[in-house]
Symmetry: C2
Subunit: 377 residues, 2 copies
């Protein structure tokens, strides 16, 4: 169901989409309702799915024509986009391309080159013939249609079409003589089908979430210096926002960063385990609603400015960080500790580079099992 | 190139395969040679690839007939298997299926259901017609052929076939009137094509490597008890081999585990940072050649049996673990530290469960940036 919520959020951010109809199987309607409520989505209507793909899509279209599903009819759109929840990485660009093409041609759909040769088998399970790969394409989603065309096509469908068919472009051609315009899509439109696709989707989401990091320091000299060096070390790998603030003030810069979809924060402070200061950032994060959809990574970086080589970490303190991280996890914030020793300048650069490597590893993995651990740079 | 080495290892383990011909592009021949030397592969010959897929395959087949590539001709086989390096998760079962089918029918290939509808586009970029998805299949690899059939087919190929064709089954049909038997393959046969496929492949490999863990303890009571509890906690998630040994003896049980392709080891000891004991395991691992192909995870688990609540970890010791882990990384062994406090029995079970969760996270991620860190359960 979480794919649905990512989608709904995505579509509801596109201003030129007037209504979002989410078609879900009957047993998931309540979950979906609570998701939409939780995220405060607007312009979203939930419709009960049918037993096949075509029957579900037809139900979604009926919302604009029949009174069966809602008390007040939604205004009939000029164009409808049809999309699959199993293709979570759609982009606005391809949506507007299929919509423009549908306005002109009546129907349009995204296509991709074939990855494998397509063959026809004979009745005995042997090769009958193979298709010339260059002449064919894979039909993907999204597809867009003039509403009147696709609704007309679904109305004329036989039960056989509705039960065994899968391709909307085919229906528009068969029943409305509309040859859909084919639009080259990007590789991201692939269909999450197998377990390996879930692995790939997880990695892509983690990749997207680790594009940007915000480094927060206070005004103290040692902290600011580390912040500067860390910024330099990180910026070759990731977009870095650096903020020097007193967190107790309500900082509008930080709020801009929240709304800019930054999901990673490094707080540098010279108190060994300044959970209190981190708590203030957590409060601001919670107010921002940022952790609702994806986990936010918060790395609490502690500066040890003692020159003492026999410096040691107490078990009690470690336990305290773990407990704090456990509480934060319930808010979908992953807290990790990172200790850095403030030494002479030559060694310091090396230590900061090592800290940057650990920060990137934590951000990219977003491993919930490692929260509350104190790593040493 | 590492895919190649995984393959060569895989194929060379199958006893009924007599020769392995690796066709590589000219610029990669030297690298491939050094890989084959490094891993000590037998029955492997390297052949220079052509500028297209078909020309490369043809070069591979010529090894058995023409003297161009080697001083002594290899014995011509009855059946050849053709496979792609971009499909790294092939299994012995499908190989033997296509070979058996090729013996009977002259040619055979793995197929998979189509994931998307296949369509033909007209000259104007609009839909011409869509294919009925159920009637078609995606042609995948491996494929197998009677040698005489596929060699004959390649000899008759036109330059146009060799330059623009991709499908071997098609050649066998066109030039030798051989209708290949189609064999249903598993989802694992997919072609690593896009960046997302690399992500998926990496996750699958990590998944495969984290199926089994070996827990090593000595005879001391506290250590043995933790070992037992850890075994109980891990075994619901992973196959666990438990060994109680003195590592200084040459233990054949441990060697069996190495040869059983176990890539994860947890060493429990009651000395705080018993790098010495870990070193002995490392020596045995190196002798086993296990870390040649994939990184081995070695978790050095330290038992703190002091009842002292103010127990602390010194920075000097932390630095020592990091240095040791840095050395081990060069041998492709990823060393992580894990500290567990030995408390009364009730709390102990909980601590061990937390250690098990950390162990699973470390094994599944195999993150090289986190080596040498001391985690606390």
């Amino acid at each position: 169901m979480s794919t649905f919520s990512v989608f709904v959020l995505f579509f509801s951010r596109i201003s030129w989409i007037s209504n979002i109809i989410v078609v879900v199987s009957p047993e998931n309607i309540e979950t979906m309702k609570s998701i939409i409520e939780k995220y405060g989505h607007k312009r979203v209507m939930i419709v009960k799915g049918g037993i096949t793909r075509h029957r579900s899509i037809f139900n979604g279209l009926k919302v604009f024509v029949e009174n069966e599903f809602s008390n007040h009819l939604l205004q009939k759109p000029e164009v409808v986009i049809i999309h699959d929840a199993v293709r979570p990485f759609v982009e606005e660009d391809i949506l507007s391309k299929v919509v423009m093409a549908a306005k002109e041609h009546g129907a349009a759909g995204a296509i991709r080159p074939l990855v494998s040769t397509v063959i026809a088998s004979a009745a005995d399970g042997c090769l009958d013939h193979s298709l010339e790969r260059a002449r064919y394409r894979a039909s993907e989603m999204p597809q867009a249609f003039l509403f009147d065309i696709i609704y007309e096509a679904y109305q004329q469908c036989t039960d056989c079409d509705l039960d065994y068919g899968t391709e909307c472009l085919h229906l528009a051609l068969k029943y409305c003589k509309t040859n859909a315009k084919l639009v080259e899509g990007t590789a991201d439109l692939w269909k999450v089908t197998y377990k390996r696709d879930l692995y790939a989707a997880e990695s892509i989401i983690k990749d997207n979430l680790s594009q940007q990091v915000c480094v927060i320091t206070d005004m103290k000299e040692a902290v600011a210096q580390i912040g500067f060096l860390l910024h330099e070390s990180l910026k070759s790998q990731v977009k870095v926002e650096a903020i020097s603030i007193s967190l107790s003030r309500n900082d509008s810069h930080l709020e801009n960063i929240f709304s800019g979809q930054c999901y990673n924060f490094v707080c540098i402070n010279d108190k060994k385990y300044a959970i209190q200061e981190t708590q203030q950032l957590v409060d601001m994060l919670e107010k921002s609603n940022l952790p609702l959809l994806y986990p936010v990574v918060l790395i609490s970086m502690h500066l040890d400015i003692s020159e003492d080589i026999s410096f040691s970490i107490g078990m009690e303190e470690l336990t305290r960080i773990k407990k704090f991280a456990g509480e934060m996890k319930k808010k979908n914030i992953l807290v990790y500790g990172l200790l850095i020793q403030y030494k002479d300048h030559l060694v310091l650069q090396e230590t900061v580079n090592s800290a940057a490597a650990l920060i990137m590893a934590l951000i990219k993995d977003r491993n919930p099992e490692l929260i509350g651990q104190l790593l040493v740079a």
